[in-house]
Symmetry: C2
Subunit: 162 residues, 2 copies
């Protein structure tokens, strides 16, 4: 609903695990879309349809609606593009900000990224010790891109696979 | 939500107008999608997000969710593909079946089609006198197709325009 301002970073080491408050499994896929990506996500016991502009960067127009889990599963199974994202999302609060740490599974195993939602693109926040390089503007880390070109194939002539 | 079974026909003449019970304006656009088309529709005072399989024919997997009208308008303005559909939908009951008669406007003006929703593909129904040729299997009459290739351009070298 409205503009979402998010910054995304790689995660270094394992120390963040000690600060996890809760975690939930996520299974998601994409229906496609031209100017927006249309995502179906099952998160824990809920499900959501999400529409996010493809325009890159930290500020993206986003809409999200709760949908019945069984309908989300039908959409994922029958209508989603090939390439699903399975991950475990961990929630960590650090210095008053909520971080979402996504630990990817399947073909994206080995990738761990942390996202913070901000009120403005230049809002200040304290960097946790486990925070690595920023990848907000690297389109390869978009989940919709990871569904098509998974992390495990990067640098392995993945371009030839498609 | 689930399988939608619909048959679609051209409409002959104007006699159907006498049987109209109610009508509402519809403004809709498409976000794209590969195996499914993702539609945003403002209908009267409500708005809906609709996901329908592109697989042709009378039975198509379909999901629909109500969304706030202002968010639908934002999606249509910022995220929809070029090509919008404006039409007036008229509701007519004939011999116990509800017909939806779509009178298209704008670049699709002149096109009037009637749809009936059925419980099975071979369910019997009584044909109103104003019912013309069936076009259920003609992909050109899909609203998602009309948004890209409007009725007014058919047979006018429209293929060269895209």
């Amino acid at each position: 609903m409205g503009i979402e301002i998010e910054r995304k970073f790689l995660v270094i080491g394992e120390a963040w695990r000690d600060a996890v408050e809760r975690s939930e499994p996520m299974d998601q896929g994409y229906l496609g879309g031209e100017r927006a990506s249309v995502r179906v996500r099952i998160a824990g016991s809920g499900a959501f349809l999400n529409i996010k502009s493809k325009q890159g960067g930290a500020s993206r127009l986003e809409f999200e609606y709760a949908v019945p889990v069984d309908e989300a599963r039908d959409m994922l199974d029958a209508l989603a593009l090939p390439g699903r994202i399975a991950k475990r999302r961990h929630y960590v609060t650090h210095a008053g900000h909520l971080w979402e740490i996504d630990e990817f599974e399947g073909e994206n195993a080995g990738l761990v990224v942390a996202e913070i939602e901000l009120q403005s693109e230049d809002e200040a926040f304290e960097r946790p010790a486990w925070l690595g390089e920023e990848v907000t503007h690297d389109l390869r880390y978009y989940n919709s891109a990871l569904a098509q070109q998974p992390f495990s194939l990067w640098g392995k002539g993945a371009d030839k696979e498609s």
